[in-house]
Amino acid sequence: MGKTTVGASVGVAAARSGLDVLLVELEGASRLGRAFGAGPLGYADSELERFHGGGRLRARHLTAREAMREYLDAGGMNRITGRLPRTGLVDLVTSAAPGLADLVLLGKIRQLEQKGEADLIVVDAPASGHAVGFLMAPRGLARTAASGPVRHQADLALELLADEARCRVALVTLPEEGPVSEVIETGFTLEDEVGVRLGPLVLNGCWAPIDGLSDAVEQAPARGRGAAAGAVAAARFRLERLEAQTEQIARLARELPLPQVRLPFLFTPGVDRPGLDRLATALAAGPVVASAPVSVPAPTVG
């Protein structure tokens, strides 16, 4: 669905407006770094770019293993464990207590938020099937642990997730049938089961209409040949595609009524710096009300 790209674009848009932004990657960390001409991200943060007006973009890759080790060390673990295989212990705890790894990651994010590490923290969460599990981890653990540090951590994470002034979930999807169905289901699950507040819905990859395209098709000779026929076939493809897209956007607005941010489909795709700038510009234009007539911003260049 391009959520990594969208997350990075949100970061760029915020940093352009002068904010200090931290991007947090939880999965594959190499692509994001590459887009900014840096190597793969590490657990510690690294600066990707500075902006005119004081904005700054940093990123880091959080892993459950390192976060867990940090958590255990903070609890005085390193003094006690001594010669015991510490990685083994960390693995045992994380693998045998499901959800704990996710909770520790959420706890780490919460800690960054509490310390005021950045004006805005953008988390690239796991993909949809796992996102629900990831955000449900605190609730699950709060249910099994009546008291103790796990319960405490779970409560803190739940507090963060439920506080819309501190945390919002932005769902990213494509204006196509399958992804739209999936995001509707995910949206309801997150609201009902996690109690998190959903921010604007990001519709990525919206094809922009071309003025006069359907008239041009109608006026085209019925039996064109070669290049002319190719152009007409291409136009028909786009028109049909736009029609299907309009239907899906309308369905989404009906079934998951949230403000929508529509990002243009990039015909020369790539997570490169100019691409992120174009998406950031579209994001900065703000959401449209879901019930408004469907329109797609034309891609802005530069």
């Binding site: 673990m77 002319a228 291409a234």
Partner: protein
Amino acid sequence: MHEALLYLGSGGVGKTTVAAASAVAAAQEGARVVVLTIDPARRLAETLDLDGAGDEARLVAGPWPGELWAAQRQPSATLAEVLHRHGRPGQADRILSNPTFQAVTHATPGISEYMAVERFHQLHTDARFDVVVLDTPPSRHAIEFLDSPQRLCRFVDNRLYRTVLAPRSGVLRSASSAGRLALRAVARLVGMELVDNVMRLFADLDGLDQGFRDRAAEIGELLTSPRCRYRLVTTARPETVAEATWIGRSLIDRGLTVDAVVANRVAPSFARPERAGRGGGTRSRVPTPLAANLAELSALAEREAELVGGLADALGRPPVVRVQERARMARGRDALVGLAAELAAATPPRPPARTPLPPPTR
């Protein structure tokens, strides 16, 4: 031994549909084929008009000479079965009723992947089928299922647990007191309740490791045998191609081969004005909105071709099947049959069936 087709790819690339279509293609060639999916969204059921398909393989009616079966995995059902198979009387029930274990089956990476390959192995040895098509489980890393048997063994046979609670030799006994200390420290941080459940679970799992190890070896052998053919599904976007490249390289690193790449939903390409005629007579005859659209779509097709070409180069140039994007999502059995034809035309032929058809008589 049966033949197996394993479809791998990142989420959202249409892997489930491609796997189902490939099963249809095999049924069209006369094979008795079963497709196994682990998709929680039940997309295969939808595509095959197979709503509510359970754990057991079900026969799908259709216009093909062979047999098409579909099965949907329920990891918890397989898990219960596996535990009953390997466990002593009462052991499986004890494990299954441990609250920590229930959570483990849902959340521990590797377990549901293991259940997929376990079920895959079962179907593979089932005499009802000639071909097994596996829609590999969606996971954070699509390749995880290959390592899942070893991971499960490590989980069941956790050395640390043995060090801490079940010392069997003098050397380990001395380590045990340090182990207990560490355990107490962990308990202070994550809660005694959790540690209790975990330790009880490991005590209950005791003795299962040999059975699991044997099974893991068997499954590992199956997954690396030449009868298993690995096919990659991807869309032609930079992020999915990067992921597919990584998955493909991981297969190759394990000594496996990528049998074919399915580039799904690639942009259609349309006839364009000759390059030589650019700015000349050809171009001026095409009205502007049409030209603008054609230029955009052509740029897209070119960029995608580049990406897919790069992927093929990185993986030793396996055959590439390009499935064109439809303006609307194809659905239903007819769409599947259409996709099957596209796949069959472009993927490597399957080895001859075990029992060759009798020669035609005149």
